[in-house]
């Protein structure tokens, strides 16, 4: 063997050496040094490029607050707030509107805000926006808090401060922690915005990509303060000290609150999106109609906003008769009942409100009632709330403020008398300084409820927190005893997707919830005690 090797011509041996050098060099890591370059998509964006065009992401982010509107909000919160009821017999009548909670609807009110708001915002953070673009980060945080507040107020404890930290076991925060985190995030947003506005007056990095304020940071600052006030009032029964601390901070904050209708936060339609109320009312052939409650209050008060908000029955142009929540809509043609005004008000292209100046005046009124510093005079706040709303909708208040006799009307269902009900409330419009705190609160919240229409999410939260306005109970309760008809629905059940993909965490969240995972369990801020 050895001898034979010698017979190989010398040249061959050199070649051999050469070959092995080539082969060995193949194995060196140096050869794979371009691998990461190869595996980087040249048509995808780097982090810096992502930040540079981050403004373009704000429209979809803002629109995602109302993602899957019909099933995420309309067929739950809007209905439970006494605003809407559907003449469509969804799922053979076994649906949310009769307290038979439909997971495939309600899970969108949970999952969408994570996938379409929080996940993109976390990517903005990952791209370095916290330090590289603090103003962009501020607006992103505010959109996130606005969106996630709607989630926690539907479900209770949610994964928030630890969202995105694990793939399979994402811990839930109790609602107190969620709210504390919200306040901290508003602190960051306010501070970033103030710094940016001071250094770059009149400028903005997000510009027209922002469908809410067109990149006006001074308005975003007002929004931040207003959001703080809204959240502070929400927890007033559960954590009065924090509520007052945060509330007073908001009331005295530089930049101020939303004060006049031009401050209102509304998402403009863009990119082919249509107004959700128009979609559910017109495009979906009348799925969305007026709730009996809203009809009785508007009619009873002869409210000047009535024809702005609604169109009357097709069978009676004088009647703004809505449908009773949970009514059996197979008993006749309920599509003929009063519905939302999508002809002139909630048109295909009109913006969708998320927070109004009027709401702030009513919050100030309640704050004043509770004695919070900087809230002003209760009556003034209350009346400014009403007039601001009238302004917002372009109607004259007339002698509305001085109407001391009109009250909610009784409800008559022309198709099914079983749904009839006397009026539940005797509260009038005119401010009465001599009334009890409880009466004053009912007056404030009832008018707030009329003013913030159609934001059913906020209205349902107020109803649960204060018990106002007084709303008809569900006509047919299919909750199987989990939801008390009189107490009414307090929350939505966690989506099945959470039980499938985040099982341990959601199970421990139910422990924190303090009751079974159904619509009858009260949230942390929904304390079952007197308002004062």
């Amino acid at each position: 063997m050895k001898k034979h090797l010698k017979s190989i011509p010398g040249q061959g041996q050199n070649n051999l050496v050469y070959i092995f050098i080539i082969l060995a060099s193949l194995a060196l890591p140096g050869c794979t040094k371009n691998f990461e370059k190869f595996n980087t998509n040249p048509t995808a964006l780097s982090s810096a490029q992502s930040i540079a065009i981050a403004a373009t992401a704000f429209g979809p982010l803002e629109q995602a607050i109302y993602s899957n509107y019909q099933i995420a909000q309309n067929l739950s919160a809007d209905a439970y707030a006494g605003y809407m009821m559907s003449p469509t017999n969804f799922l053979g009548g076994q649906n949310n509107l009769k307290y038979d909670l439909v997971d495939t609807y309600n899970q969108h009110g949970f999952n969408d805000q994570y996938t379409l708001v929080m996940a993109p915002v976390s990517k903005i953070a990952k791209a370095g926006a916290r330090t590289a673009a603090p103003d962009i980060w501020a607006v992103a945080l505010l959109i996130q808090v606005e969106a996630m507040d709607r989630v926690t107020d539907r479900f209770g404890p949610i994964p928030y401060s630890k969202a995105g930290t694990s793939l399979t076991n994402i811990p839930y925060d109790n609602q107190q922690t969620v709210y504390q985190t919200f306040f901290k995030q508003i602190d960051t947003a306010v501070s970033n915005l103030q710094t940016y506005i001071a250094a770059n007056p009149g400028k903005s990095s997000i510009g027209t990509g922002d469908l809410i304020y067109g990149g006006d940071y001074t308005k975003w600052l007002k929004f931040a303060n207003s959001l703080r006030l809204r959240l502070a009032m929400r927890i007033v029964k559960a954590d009065p000290a924090t509520a007052q601390l945060q509330g007073e901070k908001a009331l005295s904050a530089p930049g101020g609150l939303l004060a006049i209708p031009s401050d209102d936060a509304a998402i403009a339609q863009s990119g082919g999106r249509s107004n959700d109320l128009w979609v559910v009312t017109i495009d979906y052939n009348g799925d969305n109609h007026l709730n009996a409650a809203l009809g009785t209050y508007l009619t009873g008060y002869k409210d000047p906003r009535t024809s702005i908000y609604c169109v009357p029955m097709t069978t009676n142009a004088q009647a703004y008769t809505g449908i009773r929540l949970g009514a059996d809509v197979t008993k006749g043609n309920y599509y003929s009942f009063a519905t939302y005004n999508c002809i002139t008000t909630f048109t295909q292209t009109s913006s969708q409100l998320i927070m109004t100046a009027a709401e702030m005046w009513f919050l100030k009124a309640e704050a004043a009632l509770r004695g919070w510093a900087g809230a002003g005079v209760t009556q003034t706040d209350y009346e400014t709330g009403i007039t601001t709303s009238m302004q917002q909708w372009g109607v004259s208040a007339g002698n509305y403020l001085s109407d001391a006799t009109s009250t909610e009307a009784a409800y008559t269902d022309p198709l099914n008398s079983a749904n009839n009900s006397p009026a539940l409330s005797t509260i009038t419009i005119k401010w009465d300084p001599t009334a009890t705190n409880e009466q004053q609160l009912e007056r404030i919240i009832t008018q707030k409820w009329l003013a913030i229409f159609p934001d059913g999410q906020e209205a349902w939260a107020d109803f649960r927190r204060t018990g106002y306005p007084k709303l008809f109970t569900v006509a047919d309760n299919l909750s199987g005893g989990t939801i008390d008809t009189q107490i009414q629905i307090r929350r939505l059940a966690y989506p099945i997707t959470e039980y499938n993909t985040n099982n341990a965490a959601v199970k421990s969240a139910v422990q924190v919830l303090g009751g079974p995972d159904n619509g009858g369990t009260r949230l942390w801020w929904d304390v079952n005690k007197a308002n004062f």
Binding site: S7, T32, F38, A64, G164, G272, T497
Partner: protein
């Protein structure tokens, strides 16, 4: 099989003493000769040898080592030889051989580098009554074969043919049988005909064509050393009956190979699966390798339908581009083991294609021309008793109306005969040093749907040269392919002419809509003229679709490859190879403004464009060695090598509504606005789909053999994949090991057994993941908006892994007349990348994890028999069969995921991988039965509330489309110049779904709906909501409930079993002497001629897509065709 000569070095073991002595002697001799070598000039062909009384066998062994020549002989024949003594120095090999063979009863010929040992002609002296027999031996093409051994059976009397194939032999009397044998041909026996000339035609034996077979990387190995199953298909078998995709010609010819052609007209793709599907997310098709170098098998950027809706037209895969006439043979390496050396690309097996090259000698010109006519092989069955439903002005038009008297055949007004005309010419010529091969082929085909056309031109030039005293071999080829496919049909339920053609109301005249398929609207824009249009996206005028929604796909492909091989000496060579495969695809589809608003929301017209260039560069370097162990019974050979495969895709796709109506140019496409997240009113504009993947590898292969009867092969490969960068797993290793034993050489077996081999192999193959999965980046959407990518960046992702085990045997009996081969295999594909949807609060939209375990196990067999062999008539028959059982052992149970959807688009058909099920299981809504097996019916049984079958709330398992067992039976008959081949094949088991039938039932046009109405309703064993039995359900209610895409599609499952006459060819060869022509062969050919058994209303073999999904479903697929043609083959 059919080996007359076998490479034996030692079979009969001499007495040990002798052997020892011999070894000592030889060692001494070799030592001396080795030393001499050092000083002597070393020409590989010149020999130094000094032996005394050594058997020829030993001498051959030594000569083989010194010269690199192989020796082919029959041991039995050699046992009759006497020992040799000689002492030579630097003597040419042929002189040495002459010396060895003097005074021996055997002689030799040198063929290429092989010394073939033969009996000496007429070794026995003639007797007084000698009779002279003469004749000619030719091959099947009529070419004379020189050097054929002609022997009188049972004697040593024999001769061989001369250069013209003629022989002349003296035999003792006029009786007896002559045995004709030649390497690479089946041995033939013929009774002596002493009057006149005997004409013998020898049949080529593909499997023995090469004693050595081409294995992975183009490395040649002796067949008996292979530890796994391979099957060869010859050029003749591929070209016998032409098709527009050459892979379709392999159907039924290879055990374990499942070919599923796409239903997309001429030039369509073909799905090729070896031993079952295994990868959920990845590719399941084999790697195609031409002359040792991998090529691309990609379709264009437009791709194929991704779901039952259809929408994309297929423009053929990569393999269909090749000119079948350029192929010398195809070798199918079925298992992962065979492919271990190709790595990731080859985990689904390898199809090795050896192409023709120039040959030294006289120039050969071959011209073939074939023409075939294709008809639809079946059509839907319609009812002719009931007409259009009254009162329908929009939406579906149905035929649930009043009785009519007869209805016309609308299909004949639409379908045409397809044609396929292929012309090919090739020229092979060359000298000893350089050879040239040139070919040109043109394929022109038209489909059964008007406007569907394929035109393909193939140019191929190959040059081979042997330089530096044959030490350096250079081989280079250039292929250029240009292919245009016009109007590839859209399958599925949108923009498919068949859906509205088939559903057209019975009894209504369709011709007005054919003759005038459009009319101008009020502003003069052309709009469709159709019986209905608004409100139903399924309904378009079929002639509008084929005239006003045209598409064209053009492909230009340049495939260049080169290799340089340097033979250092008899045991070592180095080879460097490389190729560039560059495919440029252009696709355009125009929708005129009257087209369905689905494609054309602004009613101004729309267009889709794509332009994609795929480039694959491959290079490898292989050092092949053959360790020179002279006096050992052990032999070691093997190779070491490295390779780089670099794939790059670049291109643009554009699409959208037009600004100026019906003006089809990219600049006229309307641009989308940014900030869109739902309900877009404008269409998407541009998307670029680049990718870049590189795979680097180092590999080695070691083959040990003992005494030429035991072989052990060990391989190892390490891959580095750029697609796995950003993870810690971008480098991965996988091994294989195999063992084969030739029992006929190791043991004394009965004489009836000519050859027996057992083999076993275990192999592992890794497979990388697609690019960019491990590096998550945001993208830019329409109008420049930021689109967040919230997928997880799984830096723990690993390559997919297949473990494969196979066990087999190859047996030949009765002098190789009967052969049998059997292989059992089992593969498990693990670590597949499975998409996981985590909790939304993880803030990750999709993650990928390694999971899954897909198992395939089964067996394959081949059985061949030369039934009849006479000098005028031969009949050869062979069967190949395969059984595959697929089982999804796990999807991703650790993440609570037990289902993976291959197709899930809500049209009553889902294709799934479900834990415990098998690949591609079909799920659908089903009827609901009570415990007594009665169909549950809702409704009151009144006209206002008729009994209606209830639909299951979930999708249930209804079948699996994959055949359980496949059998091919091929037969070859030769009678003088006449030949007949036919192939029958069957696929047994499995179930398929017809959404087409569901639509036709719903529309009331199908035959069954007519029959049901005739008998007063659908007969059921039903029960109403009160528990009362119901025996009849109104036909319209029944079929409109179970029919259409959203119905109870579980009722539309059919047996997938199909047995057919796949191919038949009847040919006649004219041998022409003293003319420019050498031979002319004319054949009558047919494909897919008869369905002996078919229960489904369509051909279950035809698929909507050759991807992983959409298996076993017919959604208005093009019917399969029956082709009849003529084939002319002329040799010059």
């Amino acid at each position: 099989m059919y080996k007359l000569y076998t490479v034996f070095i030692c079979r009969h073991i001499p007495r040990i003493q002798n052997k020892l002595l011999l070894i000592m002697k030889l060692t001494l001799v070799l030592l001396i000769s080795g030393m001499l070598h050092v000083s002597a000039s070393t020409s590989a062909q010149n020999i130094n040898l000094s032996v005394k009384d050594v058997s020829l066998k030993k001498v051959f062994k030594e000569l083989r080592l010194q010269s690199g020549y192989n020796f082919l002989y029959n041991s039995k024949m050699l046992s009759e030889t006497s020992p040799v003594s000689m002492s030579v120095k630097n003597m040419p090999i042929n002189e040495v051989l002459d010396k060895c063979f003097s005074d021996q009863p055997v002689t030799y010929v040198i063929d290429n580098n092989t010394v073939i040992v033969k009996r000496k002609p007429s070794a026995v002296a003639s007797t007084v009554q000698d009779v002279t027999v003469s004749g000619t031996v030719k091959d099947e093409k009529g070419n004379p074969i020189p050097g054929v051994s002609v022997r009188l059976k049972g004697t040593v009397t024999g001769t061989q043919t001369d250069v013209s194939g003629n022989f002349r032999l003296s035999v003792p009397d006029g009786n007896g049988t002559l045995v004709f044998s030649f390497i690479g041909y089946a041995t033939q026996e013929a009774p002596i005909i002493s009057t006149g000339s005997m004409n013998i035609v020898l049949k080529e034996q593909a499997a023995t064509l090469n004693e050595v077979v081409v294995t992975a990387l183009g490395v040649k190995r002796s067949e008996q050393s292979l530890t796994y199953a391979t099957q060869q298909v010859s050029s003749e078998a591929i070209n016998q009956v032409k098709t527009d995709n050459l892979m379709n010609a392999l159907s039924g010819k290879v055990a374990g190979l499942t070919i599923t052609p796409s239903a997309s007209g001429v030039g369509g793709s073909s799905k090729v699966i070896l031993r079952g599907s295994r990868s959920a997310n990845g590719n399941n098709q084999p790697l195609y390798v031409i002359d040792g170098i991998p090529i691309l098998n990609s379709g264009n950027a437009n791709g194929q339908p991704g779901g039952t809706f259809g929408g994309s037209t297929d423009s053929g895969d990569g393999i269909s581009n090749l000119n079948p006439e350029d192929i010398e043979n195809i070798s199918v390496l079925e298992g992962a083991s065979a492919a271990a050396l190709y790595g990731s690309l080859a985990q689904n097996g390898v199809i090795l294609i050896t192409t023709k090259k120039g040959k030294a000698g006289k120039a050969v010109i071959n011209y073939t021309s074939s023409f075939s006519v294709d008809h639809t092989a079946y059509r839907p069955q319609f009812q002719n008793q009931y007409g259009q439903s009254p009162g329908v002005i929009s939406g579906d038009v149905t035929s649930w109306g009043a009785p009519i008297s007869g209805a016309q055949d609308n299909l004949k007004d639409f379908f045409q005969n397809g044609t396929n005309w292929t012309n090919a010419i090739n020229i092979a010529a060359g000298s000893e040093n350089a050879q040239t091969y040139f070919s040109y082929a043109n394929t022109h085909a038209t489909g059964i749907e008007p406007g569907n056309k394929l035109n393909r031109n193939n140019f191929n030039l190959r040059e081979t040269a042997n330089l530096l005293n044959n030490k350096l071999t250079v081989d280079g080829s250039v292929n250029y392919i240009n292919q245009i496919i016009d109007n590839s049909p859209q399958l599925g339920i949108y923009s498919n002419p068949l859906i509205s053609l088939y559903s057209f109301p019975r009894g209504v005249n369709i011709l007005p809509y054919k003759n005038q398929y459009e009319f101008p609207d009020s502003v003069g824009a052309a709009r469709q003229n159709w019986i209905t249009h608004t409100g139903d996206d399924h309904q378009d005028n079929p002639w509008w679709i084929i005239n006003r929604e045209p598409n064209t796909a053009q492909r230009n492909r340049l495939l260049m490859s080169g290799s340089v091989k340097y033979q250092f000496n008899s045991w070592l060579y180095l080879q460097v190879r490389g190729n560039v495969d560059r495919i440029t695809d252009d696709f355009e589809q125009d929708f005129y403004s009257g087209s369905n608003s689905l494609y054309n929301s602004n009613e101004t017209g729309a267009m889709k464009l794509s332009n994609q260039t795929l480039t694959q560069k491959y290079g490898d370097l292989i050092l092949n060695f053959n360790v020179p162990l002279q006096h050992s019974d052990f032999k070691i050979n093997g190779l070491l090598g490295g390779s780089i495969t670099d794939q790059e895709t670049q291109g643009l796709t554009l699409g959208g509504n037009l600004a100026t109506p019906d003006f089809f140019t990219p600049a006229n496409i309307v641009v989308a606005q940014p900030g869109t997240n739902s309900r877009p009113i404008t269409s998407n504009t541009s998307a670029i789909s680049p990718s870049h993947s590189q795979l680097q590898a180092l590999f080695g292969d070691l083959d040990f053999s003992y005494n030429n009867w035991a072989y052990l092969t060990v391989t190892g490969r390490n891959d580095w994949s750029s697609n796995l960068s950003f993870t810690n797993n971008y480098s991965y290793f996988y091994p294989s090991a195999g063992l084969s034993v030739i029992l006929t050489q190791a043991l004394k077996l009965p004489q009836e057994i000519s050859y027996a081999k057992v083999r076993a192999t275990f192999a592992q193959v890794g497979n990388t993941i697609p690019p960019y999965l491990t590096n998550i980046q945001n993208t830019q959407g329409g109008g420049g908006s930021l689109v967040f990518n919230t997928a997880a960046a799984p830096n723990t992702l690993k390559p997919e892994k297949t473990n494969s085990f196979e066990l087999g045997t190859d047996l030949r009996f009765f002098n190789n007349r009967f052969n049998f081969s059997f292989t059992y295999y089992k593969t498990n594909t693990l670590n597949q990348y499975v998409p996981v949807n985590y909790s939304a609060s993880s803030l990750v939209s999709t993650g990928y994890v390694n999971a899954g375990n897909v198992e395939n196990n089964g067996f394959e067999f081949i059985l061949g028999y030369d039934v009849f062999q006479s000098h005028d008539f031969t009949w050869n028959t062979s069967f190949n069969g395969a059984m595959n059982k697929n089982k999804i052992i796990d999807v991703d149970s650790k993440d609570n995921i037990n289902t993976f959807y291959l197709t899930n688009d809500g049209n009553g058909y889902q294709s799934e991988l479900v834990k415990g099920g098998s690949y591609g299981d079909i799920y659908a809504p089903t009827l609901v039965y009570n415990a007594k097996g009665q169909v549950m019916l809702s409704g009151a049984g009144t006209a206002a509330s008729p009994y209606t079958p209830e639909k299951s709330s979930t999708y249930n398992y209804v079948g699996n489309p994959n055949p359980k067992f496949q059998l091919g039976w091929s037969n070859t008959f030769n009678y003088k110049q006449l030949s007949l081949n036919f192939l029958v094949d069957g696929k047994f088991g499995g179930q398929v779904m017809s959404i087409t039938q569901a639509f036709l039932d719903e529309a009331g046009v199908s035959e069954v709906t007519g029959e049901a109405r005739e008998q007063g309703g659908v007969k059921v064993n039903g029960v109403n909501s009160l528990g009362q039995p119901v025996s009849t359900v109104n036909a319209q209610t029944w079929y409109q409930t179970i029919g259409q895409r959203g119905g109870i599609t579980g009722e539309y499952m059919y047996s997938a079993t199909v047995v057919r006459l796949r191919e038949a060819a009847l040919g006649y060869t004219w041998l022409v002497s003293n003319s420019a022509f050498k031979s002319i062969k004319l054949s009558l050919t047919g494909r897919n001629l008869i369905y002996f058994y078919k229960k489904a209303p369509f051909d279950p073999e035809v698929t909507m897509s050759t991807g992983n999904g959409l298996s076993g479903v017919d959604v208005f697929n093009q019917p399969a065709t029956r082709d009849v043609g003529l084939d002319l083959n002329v040799s010059f």
